[in-house]
């Protein structure tokens, strides 16, 4: 229990402020080893976290570092520094606060290690670097508390795993270290608490008053949403009306490409020249900062953005959040809505714009979930081994260690609590010798063991290990600049993959502008402005989130009802017609429809397993069909279904979905697959098998020293198939891009209950699948026209009205 010293209580009194109940409670329980505070945005969460620190430091007696604050964003660390320094100065407390991120000058970083401030604000990566130094025990000598902010954003990511491993190291250095987690609303606070606490310490969970229910509605428009696709172009006018009626509006999109397209159309419709900006992670920093500044100054009425604005930075007077496209995940929706206002006890206001007809259903389901305060609780997280391999190397940089000590230490991190010793030993062996069956490097081992103590063979290796710290593996990016004789204005960046597909004259959207590709010069994409052309769709950075299990289940539950008064008429009629013509999918059964169309045979499997898993299902089914001579020709997947077309009618559907058959196909398919190679690359970089590429796209000129990790993958598979990196890759892929877990989940719930409906024509629910653009974007006006005609024809065939 920490009493509040008069300087601090006086400061509150002087402003006529009350200390929030949860702030008082945090203070009362501040001597506990672990505390998790769940509070909505604007609830004084940060102050609640820091109050005990300020109280403990108020007498000026403490020497050295007292509290470490870790946040997922650099910008957040800087923001907190400002927000903390003000009150500290006003209270007249003898407390030094500094931040330390990738942007901090190296001279100050060195000084901070020898002479740390009382409060150090940092990021997981900078902390990992700090614990890798031999003098870490001196830097952290006085450390009492560590505060992890926005822990909900870290809990399920590799950055979070790295952070928790770093905390396990800190707790070993400072056994009395107290941990504090600050989190936005989550479904399962206990799961977050388990990740935060030093295993097996208990963790007390404080729930702040969640405030009034958010005011969330679906945006109703005169025009019904289209049958397929994304972007929400149809709602442009209605969105503009909303922007005019509010002070500041954030308009969220699920992908950068959609944000770009929407912004473009918004400006075309923006006859009143309302000031609207765009903000996403692929834009050049200068451009992002300009938008951020304009936002803080209140110069913008609206910002079109992506998740880059998701975390708790205060951007001023936002009074409306618009989410375009189904939110895919209820938790993300609620956190985004939290952005809408930072005024405690005032309801947040948000509108959802479904991008197509199916998303209408998804939105209604998501709104129900929000009203019932059930969020997605998908935290089932065991610590990934590539992150552990990196941590072992980081530990080795700091000095000699024994395997027993490090194993015990690692197991105190919640995500690694159940790590088997044999698995740990394999990771240690990998870090030490490469872990190859062929013992080629005995003379050059990275870690050498002597009398049970491991140490780095060559101390110079520390520089390389430190350079590779971090768990974010970015795709190689290329800068985009306007073409000028001496390097034009930077516009942003695109993935190298996207850039390599461009041909001279191709057009794409970036920063809300349409540009024409002119050529490449020294890893820079040079473009020119072209205001009058229609862009080739921006496919860069198209991360598509899969719909969460919870949301899928809600939709399936809705389908069971007799009628749907909560749905708009156009969507309600659609579902009614599907029930009449075929049937609606159910949670514990699998609906498979087959029908001829356009001279081809089609099969639709309504698995509701999320986009990645449906994609994998499509690959597995088509491969199986290929083997059986059923001539599949292609497939397309959405979050809820996979549509396969081919030459032959599928008469016996059930065997295709037998678990053994799918598993067998999976085995052969997995082994040689681009998804595996991509996954391998990421894990190989994190685990320290290969070096990170240099930042800023710098390459050695002349003969290349780097080569493709695909070759390493193939070589390992051929000569060392049991190598630990291949095991890591497999596990990663299964729960990541391949998402086999969701397929298994689906097989579990459907059992052998497969309903095959053979029909003579396209069904209402299947019709939109034909319009899914898939991976290849629609190009030019002719395609546009074809698509329109085809859409009309499809809808009429299915007995649906076309607007």
């Amino acid at each position: 229990m920490t009493a509040l010293p008069p300087e601090i209580s006086g400061w509150f009194d002087a402003r006529g402020w009350d200390i929030h109940p949860h702030q008082r409670e945090m203070l009362a329980l501040s001597d506990q080893p672990c505390q998790l505070l769940i509070a909505p945005t604007g609830g004084g969460k940060t102050m609640a976290g820091f109050l005990p620190t300020l109280a403990e430091l108020s007498d000026g007696a403490h020497q050295g570092l007292h509290t470490l604050y870790v946040s997922p964003l650099k910008a957040l660390a800087a923001d907190i520094k400002r927000n903390l320094t003000g009150p500290i100065d006003e209270m007249g407390l003898p407390i030094r606060v500094e931040d330390r991120t990738g942007d901090t000058p190296s001279s100050r970083k060195r000084r901070q290690r020898a002479d740390p401030p009382h409060i150090l604000l940092t990021t997981p990566e900078s902390l990992a670097l700090l614990i890798s130094y031999e003098d870490a025990h001196r830097t952290f000598a006085g450390l009492q508390r560590v505060i992890v902010d926005e822990i909900h954003a870290l809990a399920e990511s590799k950055r979070g795993d790295q952070l928790m491993l770093a905390l396990s190291r800190l707790s070993a250095l400072r056994p009395s270290l107290r941990r504090v987690g600050l989190s936005a609303t989550v479904e399962d606070p206990q799961a977050v608490a388990r990740i935060l606490a030093k295993n097996p310490d208990p963790c007390s969970v404080l729930q702040a008053d969640p405030g009034p229910d958010p005011d969330i509605r679906m945006l109703t428009t005169e025009a019904p949403p289209p049958w397929s696709g994304g972007g929400g172009k149809y709602a442009m006018e209605a969105v503009l009306e909303q922007v005019k009626a509010h002070n500041t509006t954030l308009i969220f999109h699920n992908t950068r490409a959609q944000a770009e397209i929407f912004f473009h159309h918004l400006w075309l419709a923006n006859e009143d020249q309302i000031p609207i900006g765009i903000h996403h992670g692929a834009l050049a920093r200068e451009q992002r900062e300009r938008v951020e500044q304009a936002m803080v100054n209140g110069q913008l009425k609206a910002i079109v953005c992506t998740g880059s604005l998701d975390l708790g930075i205060d951007w001023g007077d936002v009074d409306l959040v618009i989410q375009v496209g189904a939110p895919k995940n209820v938790k993300r929706l609620v956190q985004r809505i939290g952005r809408a206002n930072h005024r405690y006890n005032a309801p947040s206001k948000a509108l959802i714009v479904p991008a197509n007809r199916f998303e209408v259903i998804e939105c209604v389901a998501a709104l129900q979930a929000v009203r019932e305060r059930t969020l997605d609780g998908d935290i089932d997280h065991s610590g990934p081994l590539d992150v552990l391999c990196q941590h072992i190397l980081i530990r080795a940089c700091a000095g000699p260690f024994t395997a027993d000590d490090l194993f015990a230490e690692v197991r105190t991190a919640g995500a690694y609590a159940d790590l088997p010793r044999a698995t740990f030993d394999r990771c240690l062996e990998f870090a030490a010798t490469g872990g190859y069956a062929l013992r080629a490097y005995d003379q050059w081992q990275r870690l050498v063991e002597k009398d049970g103590i491991y140490h780095l063979r060559d101390p110079r290796a520390t520089a390389r290990i430190r350079m590779n710290i971090g768990t974010i593996v970015d795709a190689d990016k290329m800068a985009v600049r306007l073409q000028k004789s001496r390097g034009g204005k930077p516009l942003g960046e695109v993935e190298e993959y996207f850039a390599s597909m461009l041909r001279k004259g191709d057009t794409f959207l970036i920063g809300g502008e349409i540009v024409r590709f002119e050529g490449m010069r020294e890893m820079v994409v040079e473009v020119a402005r072209t205001p009058y052309l229609k862009p080739k769709i921006a496919t860069f950075m198209g991360t598509k989130f899969a719909t969460s299990t919870q949301l899928s289940d809600r939709i399936l539950a809705m389908f069971r009802k007799d009628d749907w008064p909560e749905l708009p008429n156009h969507t309600r009629d659609w579902l009614r017609l599907q029930r009449e013509v075929s049937r609606l999918p159910e949670r514990d059964r699998l609906l498979v429809e087959t029908f001829p169309h356009d001279g081809r045979e089609h099969l639709v499997a309504y698995g509701f397993a999320g986009r990645n898993a449906q994609q994998t299902l499509g690959l597995l089914l088509t491969q199986r069909m290929e083997e059986q001579g059923l001539n599949p020709m292609g497939f397309v997947s959405t979050d809820y279904a996979t549509l396969i077309w081919g030459l032959d009618q599928i008469r016996d559907v059930a065997p295709l979905f037998h678990r053994e058959n799918l598993m067998a196909t999976m085995e052969t398919w997995l082994s040689d697959n681009a998804v595996m190679k991509r996954t391998f690359k990421g894990s190989a970089i994190i685990a320290g098998l290969v070096d990170r590429s240099l930042p800023g796209g710098k390459r050695k000129s002349g003969r290349q020293a780097t080569f493709s990790t695909d070759i390493l993958y193939d070589t390992l598979r051929k000569y060392d198939p049991d190598h630990v990196m291949l095991e890591i890759t497999r596990n990663e892929a299964m729960r990541g891009l391949v998402d086999f877990g969701r397929i298994e989940e689906m097989l579990d719930r459907i059992g052998d209950r497969i309903d095959h409906t053979a029909l003579s024509r396209v069904t209402p629910l299947a019709a939109p699948l034909f319009l899914e653009p898939g991976r290849i974007p629609i190009q030019g006006m002719a395609n546009e026209r074809l698509l329109q005609d085809e859409a009309t024809r499809l809808m009429e065939t299915a007995g649906l009205k076309v607007e």
Binding site: W444, D458, Y497, R503, G688, S701, Q704, K718, Y719
Partner: protein, 226 residues
């Protein structure tokens, strides 16, 4: 045989999909830049510990080509070993895998910039070798005629139906030919690099390793991907 026949200096040659060059009338097989022991050298210098199987992988492919072509003579165009220390450290492993293939064949090691000294393996060790109109050396020289070299590890890019394919390649014009690297752990230098564009005539072509290999006008500096 998986290869593309070409005429160079009035000689019929075959660019093989493996990156080797086959000269049927002389029963001669040419490979370049094996970089044996590269993984070992990287580890020795404190670099990443790559899978130590590249010697086995590279030599298995080389022995395979020797047998498939029935070559009587094999010319390695230099940088056969990643450096001298790698040559020494890996000599045993290399000898065990290569000796059977070297027996009964005239084996020529051309010196490279990575491995200028002698190695403990049999065969001739030469700076350059001339056979008829063809001159074999490691690095291309100015104004050469009928020159066959390696060193640059050329690669080239093609965009086909929205997909970018990047492959190691042979570069050739009327005067010279540059071979791709045969070694498993070897990166490449894009043909659009000014060094390569400056070296090759404007009518140069690139033969991309594929099954079978494909020949295209050499993508050059300033033209972007083809």
């Amino acid at each position: 045989m998986n290869g593309l026949p070409v005429i160079f200096q009035d000689q019929s040659l075959v660019a093989l999909a493996s990156g080797a060059l086959w000269w049927p009338s002389e029963r001669t097989l040419v490979v370049s830049d094996l970089h044996l022991g590269k993984a070992e050298r990287m580890v020795r210098r404190g670099g990443p510990m790559l899978p130590p199987y590249e010697i086995a992988e590279t030599l298995d492919r080389l022995v395979g080509e020797c047998e498939a072509t029935g070559a009587k003579r094999v010319i390695c165009l230099g940088d056969s070993f990643d450096d001298l220390a790698a040559a020494e450290a890996t000599a045993e492993a290399v000898a065990a895998r290569l000796s059977p293939a070297m027996a009964g064949r005239h084996w020529v090691w051309i010196e490279g910039n990575h491995d200028p000294g002698p190695v403990a393996l049999g065969g001739d060790h030469l700076g350059e070798l001339r056979i008829g109109p063809l001159n074999f050396r490691h690095i291309a020289g100015q104004g050469a005629q009928g020159e066959i070299s390696g060193h640059y590890h050329p690669k080239a890019q093609v965009v086909a139906r929205g997909r970018t394919l990047s492959r190691p390649c042979f570069l050739m014009d009327s005067a010279r030919m540059i071979l791709p690297a045969f070694g498993t752990y070897t990166g490449g230098l894009r043909s659009t690099d000014p060094t390569l564009s400056g070296l090759m005539d404007l009518d140069a072509t690139a033969i991309l390793l594929a099954r079978p290999p494909v020949r295209i006008p050499m993508p050059r500096a300033g033209t972007g991907p083809a």
